[in-house]
């Protein structure tokens, strides 16, 4: 539980982040290239890889908080572990600023609209009032992610993990909200969100 890295980090953080005058998208872009974020999340932040979220136009705070949770091993994502390891807070904030600055886009392999699923997802999202936190056009805000145009396979996986208590955010809200939803409900919600175009 004690981490030598964290000890070193604590000593260096103040120095490191005083040098940086706030988050800077250009620095985030350079770091994203070095760390090869685009290999999975897409060079333009629009993921073409199954199960990987698009980060373009994601609220910067979402990227920051999730990277911190992964770096601190409070959220376990094996594929991300080596990429989150050793990032400084200032670097993470730069990455957040970079992905937030990118225009939203849609994955090339997006499935065509299934009218039945879409209608079911629309009804579920109204009843669940997803738009109160994620905003009515689902562009997200603060710690609440953008859902509009997100990869459907990723949304389905994330919703399932929240429902099944395999994942928490910065709090446990989503797990509480999704309790009792069926797999079909989550698939419909994912399909509906994947076909929104909010804030584009």
């Amino acid at each position: 539980m004690r981490r030598t890295g964290a000890l070193l980090l604590a000593g260096l953080l103040v120095l490191a982040s005083s040098a940086a005058a706030g988050p800077e998208p250009a620095r985030g872009k350079a770091l994203a290239e070095v760390r090869q974020c685009g290999a999975c999340h897409g060079a333009d932040g629009v993921a073409q890889t199954a199960g990987v979220p698009s980060l373009a136009a994601m609220p910067g705070q979402v990227v920051v908080l999730q990277l911190i949770l992964m770096r601190e091993k409070l959220r376990q994502v094996p594929a991300m572990a080596p990429f989150a390891e050793g990032l400084t807070d200032a670097e993470i904030e730069d990455l957040g600023a970079w992905f937030e600055s990118l225009p939203p886009g849609l994955p090339a392999d997006r499935a065509p609209v299934d009218a039945t699923k879409l209608a079911a997802g629309a009804a579920l999202s109204q009843k669940g009032r997803c738009g109160i936190c994620h905003l009515p056009d689902y562009r997200g805000r603060e710690q609440m992610p953008r859902l509009a145009g997100q990869r459907e396979d990723y949304l389905r996986q994330a919703l399932t993990q929240f429902r099944d208590s395999q994942r928490i955010g910065t709090d446990t809200q989503m797990t509480g909200l999704l309790h009792g939803y069926s797999d079909a409900d989550l698939a419909a919600l994912a399909h509906y969100m994947a076909h929104r175009h909010g804030g584009s």
């Binding site: 980090l9 103040v14 601190e72 409070l74 200032a90």
Partner: protein, 395 residues
């Protein structure tokens, strides 16, 4: 466990589409008890900040204090810094919630002693040992003074303390009493619900080895601040009131335990005289009332008595209380530190102390705990800024 969800919570709950195929599901605690009329309310809990705020961006210059007091930064660069405990050698230990770390500050240097814990908010220091209490986890770091660079492996006391596993209001406040016992709370696992009053919404004390669990008070929704009066030894505590029952009701409160085991009314009664709109069945007259109301939704957390000599004599044996600040209120409130004095009859009076972190409806920081230092100065932790302020007085 949560015994019965409010019928009305169910009517408004968001998992409604699944009701036909699954057992009744609770909405998230923060939305429980929300009247149907407020279903479209944009109010939601504030986002945490988990990254370092450089010292030059910590708004210490904005702080307002009474004449003669000054604020400076004591330490910064500790995201999520919350509850504080002081060791005799001057080491300050600091707990957190979301970021899962325990910090220390000594001689101007900051350390991360532990990480990856589940909301290690409860921090106490006694007999050379640091107690760290996370959700359903109690760790004791023996002989840690002077070993901040390489802390010893902790003794895991989780099984002895046997705390309930619920996460909501499951983070702990901890303090050591004049009876050398470890005091902590177990909050209600909900916003508003009926509950087992021997298991939740409690103030508890234990022997330091985790034995001898004793209920000190019942019906306390969630106390994240307790302190013993330096003269009477009585336990004073802050308590967070429920949400979604009004912009200005019910209040967070300050209570004092005058009889071990007394009941302060949750979930049936708030403010000492306000019957809960949702949970009925017992009257306010059955319960002990709070000593003082601290404002609706202000999130009154850390509390300490002032016993030092640096501040003017009128502050002697008064209480400082950090108000973390509201989310369930259209106009934000709190985000400050208040001072509560007691008259000869023990009647409390509240006055402002540290302000300046709320500009219009935007907050700049979130005061979370207070800690008196040996020289009589007062530390205030700011969770949002990951910083500790030091307040001094000079004529």
């Amino acid at each position: 466990m949560l015994r019965r969800l409010l019928g009305f919570g169910l009517a408004t709950m968001v998992a409604a589409p699944a009701l036909a195929q699954a057992p009744a599901a609770p909405p998230p605690a923060w939305a429980q008890g929300r009247p149907a009329a407020l279903n479209a309310s944009p109010l939601a809990p504030n986002a945490p900040k988990l990254t370092v705020t450089p010292a030059d961006q910590v708004p210490v210059g904005k702080l307002t204090l009474p004449q003669g007091f000054k604020a400076e930064i004591y330490a910064a660069g500790m995201p999520g810094a919350r509850m504080m405990a002081l060791a005799p050698d001057g080491t300050l230990f600091i707990g957190t919630r979301t970021i899962g770390r325990v910090y220390a500050v000594k001689d101007g240097k900051t350390y991360t002693l532990a990480s990856g814990l589940k909301q290690p908010n409860g921090i106490a220091f006694v007999n050379g040992s640091l107690y760290v209490i996370a959700i359903n986890q109690v760790l004791r770091f023996d002989g840690i003074q002077g070993k901040l660079d390489a802390p010893p492996a902790p003794v895991d006391m989780t099984n002895t303390f046997n705390l309930p596993p619920e996460e909501h209001h499951g983070w702990k406040f901890a303090t050591i009493g004049p009876d050398a016992k470890l005091y902590m709370q177990v909050g209600a696992p909900c916003n508003i619900c009926e509950l087992d009053e021997n298991r939740h919404a409690l103030l508890l004390r234990y022997n330091l080895d985790g034995s001898g669990r004793e209920i000190v008070a019942r019906g306390v929704r969630n106390s994240v601040g307790m302190a013993h009066h330096p003269q009477t030894g009585q336990l004073w505590f802050t308590n967070n009131g429920r949400d979604w029952a009004g912009e200005d009701e019910p209040h967070d409160s300050l209570g004092v335990v005058t009889r071990v085991g007394q009941h302060f009314g949750f979930p049936f009664c708030h403010n000492g005289n306000m019957q809960d709109p949702d949970v009925q069945g017992r009257a306010c007259s059955e319960f002990s009332a709070p000593a003082l109301l601290l404002g609706a939704h202000t999130a009154a957390l850390g509390i300490r008595f002032y016993t030092g000599d640096m501040f003017p004599a009128e502050y002697k044996n008064s209480m400082f209380i950090a108000r973390h600040g509201s989310w369930n209120r259209t106009q934000r409130s709190g985000y400050d530190v208040v001072n509560v004095t007691l008259d000869a009859a023990g009647k409390p009076t509240l006055r402002p102390f540290m302000g300046g972190l709320l500009e219009g409806n935007t907050f700049l920081g979130r005061p979370t705990d207070v800690q008196q230092m040996p020289d009589g100065s007062l530390l205030v932790s700011d969770e949002q800024m990951g910083a500790i302020y030091r307040i001094t007085y000079a004529k």
